[in-house]
């Protein structure tokens, strides 16, 4: 598998902030195993946006959940800032979750529909022992990062917000913890095109202004092209290509990547030509 990894030159920098090393995930099914993630080794470097691109069944979301420690690995290690976090639990895990946060695909089911936006944002902040004013200030700051005003959002319930607004609130929630790494798992897939672009801009700004490391999981290589510094392409649980965005998209070496790029409908060049 290490042969596949060295297909494209890995950008050389200092120690990665988050890594997956030889991570495998197998699910037991009737009559055997399904290997969702197959011996994957990926590094994520500080302050960069790395996109993990793959179609459904590629294992990208499973990998994301393992990186988030929401799902146990079958084998392999996850390392954060040099520490092995593969099997941590309890207080250690909660500490990890202050640094590594996520935004998921479905903006509606990410919310507890019985609580208001304000209550959702304040969740888990009790343990930090902040005063009310500080907390309110923090809420205002985080909502500000995503272009929302507290007066417009804090008292509302999820069903009263639009899809785009919900997703922004989810990003704000992730920012409440002051994380170093933000994982966006198909976070823009359920948004309309214009909202998608706004959300991607927000992620770009977060990287520029807060120095966040962003992991962007998507099936849409076009979005990766817009947002990411590095791209990892996954197919059937394997990493088939890994390199800078320019390298992967404009000089793909792997056949699967080439086919993926060829199948993407291009706005101008795929205009129907009909003989009348």
């Amino acid at each position: 598998m290490s042969e596949k990894d060295s297909l494209a030159p890995r950008p050389a920098t200092g120690q990665p902030v988050l890594s997956a090393t030889h991570v495998t995930k197998q699910f037991r099914v009737a009559g055997g195993h399904i290997t969702a993630v197959d011996d994957v080794t990926v590094d994520f470097h500080a302050g960069k946006v790395l996109a993990v691109v793959g179609e459904s069944g590629s294992g990208k979301s499973t990998l994301a959940r393992m990186l988030l420690r929401l799902m146990p690995v079958t084998s392999g290690t996850i390392t954060y800032n040099g520490n092995d976090v593969t099997h941590i639990k309890g207080a250690e895990l909660r500490a990890y979750w202050r640094d590594v946060q996520a935004v998921f695909q479905d903006p509606f089911s990410s919310f507890n529909q019985f609580y208001s936006v304000g209550q959702t944002l304040r969740r888990g902040m009790g343990s930090q022992g902040l005063e009310k004013e500080t907390l309110d200030q923090l809420i205002e700051t985080c909502l500000g990062y995503v272009g929302l005003k507290p007066a417009d959002a804090v008292h509302k319930y999820p069903h009263q917000l639009s899809g785009g607004q919900r997703q922004r609130v989810m990003i704000a929630r992730a920012l409440m913890m002051n994380p170093k790494v933000l994982l966006a798992d198909e976070a823009t897939s359920m948004l309309d095109a214009s909202l998608r672009v706004s959300a991607l801009n927000v992620l770009q700004d977060l990287r520029a202004n807060l120095g966040l490391t962003v992991l962007f999981i998507t099936h849409d290589i076009g979005q990766a092209c817009y947002l990411a510094d590095e791209v990892v392409v996954m197919e059937h649980g394997l990493v088939v290509e890994h390199g800078t965005t320019d390298a992967v998209i404009f000089e793909p070496k792997n056949d699967y990547t080439k086919r993926l790029l060829a199948d993407v409908p291009d706005l101008k060049s795929s205009l129907k030509v009909r003989n009348r």
Binding site: N112, R123, G124, Q160
Partner: protein, 342 residues
């Protein structure tokens, strides 16, 4: 169908982020549960249940005769003084009926609540935690479920009757027994739902926010089960009341206390059917039917409350809206505008 709903929802719930020339809505948001509304089914069922409850709890305050007052002889026919005649001991049937209804309802409430508490606790734990905990708890549930309840109840009742502890022999004891035996199906229903809620993304989000398991169970899982728990509780009430009547009719009822089933027991024992004393067995049967039906109907009306898609809306509002629409259609037909698109 989903897309139609979501389009309507987006259209309704919208407001511009940056108010430019549009009026913003300053009023406070309405939480989701406020939009519940009660349909006709609910009022009917509440009416029936209310009637029986009034009979049981308020009736005795006004009715002149007591349940243990000998006012006549064996099976006196209904008369102006005693609307339902007397039963085998010479007590006024209506008075006994009121006392029985009260006890049956109390037993039902106690037993139903115990059953739901046990069932929800086991179901939530099994569904949320999963793994071997779930296997263990569900295995245990299946065992309890597969033992015929009547058999267990008879055995436990008999042994309870022969203990010396007073309160266990009476109403409370019976309620405990019924409760401890009837929780399994609630546990199964709740486990299935809890299992599904546990996979929902908001649980992951809560975990990432640093919430601990007890907090997640109470704040993120239970509210989603509330509708199931309430409906299960109503059904457990009905089933507990019926179970108790069965037991009492077999002579295993609470000693020293009346219940609807007990009345039927005495009616059978003194051959009320053969002697044609319908006032001895018909009234308790009817009241039993009413309370069971009322509860079951209530449960189906709750379905409408919790599941908005089943709502049919107030009839008069529907008619008004239809009239408005027809008017709008007529207006559109009249001023047919010039062509919009080619």
């Amino acid at each position: 169908m989903t897309n139609i709903q979501s389009a309507a929802a987006t259209a309704e719930a919208e407001g511009p982020l940056i108010p430019e020339g549009l009026p913003t809505e300053p009023r406070k948001a309405k939480p989701a549960w406020r939009s519940l509304n009660f349909g006709p089914r609910m009022w009917i069922s509440l009416g029936i249940i209310g009637f029986v409850a009034a009979l049981a709890f308020i009736g005795p305050l006004f009715y002149p005769y007591g349940a243990e007052e000998k006012v006549g002889s064996l099976y006196d026919s209904p008369s102006a003084e005693h609307f339902l005649g007397t039963e085998n001991f010479g007590y006024d049937v209506l008075a006994v009926l009121m006392a029985s209804a009260r006890n049956s309802i109390i037993i039902g409430l106690l037993a139903g609540t115990i059953a739901v508490l046990i069932g929800v606790a086991i179901g939530v734990l099994a569904g949320y935690v999963g793994g071997w905990v779930e296997e263990l708890l569900m295995g245990f549930t299946n065992i309890v479920l597969s033992i015929p309840p009547i058999v267990i109840l008879i055995l436990i009742s008999i042994s309870l009757q022969s203990t010396g502890i007073a309160f266990l022999k009476g109403v409370v004891g019976l309620a405990l027994v019924i409760g401890i035996v009837s929780w399994p199906w609630t546990a199964r229903a709740v486990r299935a739902q809890a299992s599904s809620v546990a996979t929902r993304e908001h649980i992951d989000v809560a975990k990432l926010s640093g919430a601990r398991t007890p907090s997640i169970l109470v704040r993120d899982v239970l509210p989603y089960l509330a509708s199931y728990a309430v409906m299960a509780w109503v059904l457990q009430l009905a089933s507990a009341i019926l179970l108790e009547s069965t037991l009492s009719m077999l002579g295993l009822g609470p000693s020293g206390a009346n219940s609807l089933g007990k009345q039927l027991f005495w009616a059978l024992a003194f051959q009320a059917v053969a002697t044609g004393a319908w006032w001895a067995f018909l009234p308790p049967t009817i009241v039993l039917t009413m309370i069971s039906f009322g509860l079951l109907y209530l449960q189906s009306s709750l379905d409408e409350v919790f599941n908005p898609r089943l709502r049919r809306g107030k009839k008069k509002n529907l008619a008004k809206a239809a009239a408005r629409r027809a008017e709008a259609a007529r207006k559109l037909a009249e001023n047919k505008p010039v062509e919009a698109i080619v």
